[in-house]
Amino acid sequence: MLPFIECDACGHKFFYPRARCPRCFSNKLQVKNSAGVGSVFSYTKFNTKSGESVIYAIIELAEGVRMYSNVFAQRIYVGLRVKAIFKELKGKRVVYFEEEGA
């Protein structure tokens, strides 16, 4: 389940949670469940100190909301269709993305 927030007062949608809408400041906010699919809006690739290859990206969800994440994929380009996956990181459930077809 990948939640995002929609403001009932002005329709603004956003991922990073606030108690009030950052556009109109209403507290009439609804937590919605995204379909968990989207595409790569932008990406970069680098190696960590331990030599691991990492993709860091901004994902645009189908619902029009964008968020930062790491992507697990063999190939990477702007527009690549991805889907959300969940992994445990230090006891917490974190959302990542992988190629849609994977």
Binding site: K45, F46, I58, R66
Partner: protein, 386 residues
Amino acid sequence: MISGFSGKVFKSYDGEAFEMLCEVVNEALECAHLEKSEIDGLVTTFLPGVVDGKIHKHFYTTQLAQFLGLRPRFMELFDYGGASAPAMLQRANKAVLNGEATNVLCVVGGKASDLKSKGVTVDSIDRLSADVSLTPFDEFFRVYTDMNPISDYALVATRHSHLFGTTDSQRALLAVKQRQNAKANELALYKNELSVSDVLSSPVVCEPLHLLEIVYPVDGFHAFIVSQKRTADLRAVDILAYGEAHWPEMPCELPELVNTPAQESSKCARFDLSKIDAFELYDSFTITVMLQIEDIGLCNKGESGRFLERVDTTYKGELPINTGGGSLNTGQPAFMSGGVLIDEALRQLNYMAKAHQVSGVDKVFVNCIGGWNRAHSTTIVLGEAP
């Protein structure tokens, strides 16, 4: 009016930050022909870890005034990162014009080496201390593996190429041209010949950004003294235009990644671009300068690559940009370079630039970007008031 200035930059300063600062303040006072006791205003900037490695310095302006032995009647603290220096000059000037102070000391800088030795940057200091937050959403944002600030700017570079076809070579050309200026600047750390192919064969740090497109954080301070007093052996340099804008949003929440608040902050000086003799544009990365070239109105959005191919931006050229080589070649003191850009602008205006002097300089346009998310932009045009 800027009545005195000084700066010192070190790859790594062996000593305490405040010691380094005293030398710089002393030189600025000598430059302004002022006694320390005549300073009655203090403006400065603080970000966690960048002055002396300490995450926080309680009542920082007090600590600074305490160490320097000042008695100000006006003090102000900025946290715009790289964009702090122009804002500091503007506020200091307003205070002086308002009668709130007579001689204001503006101090910007610190030690990047303290954080670097701990393996973090100013934008990843939250990895060092759980007590520091980068955003209100760290729980959802800082869980990922990134290389901020480099990774966020890499995202911008990727997007710029996607939207406009900007090539690695065009970005590299910016570094090449700035190195040509650096070769003639005695303050530059890097002076070897540099070609596009040299830039592109330097390691890819964070795709698509190569090592030689990325600034090197160093230790240093710059001090500026603002007053209404004309110093005998300096030009009477005033603030001819000033603009400021802040876009604090998470970049992913902006309509696009390739715009900066410089679009708004530069509106104060848009009319005057043809009268500007030199531009100093914040150069944390090659792409940062390219965004500002577009956003201040030197070319249309997306065309900075072609602009760089067509226009001679060296100090001898028709449109000088980063006349001393920029921070890419002189270093980025304390992860923020506003002081470096203002210092270079003042050197140019006062004909102190020696081998890299732009001829006939009367107006210099400085634009500074601050924040890992490019949240802050300050624009300042310096020159003699008519």
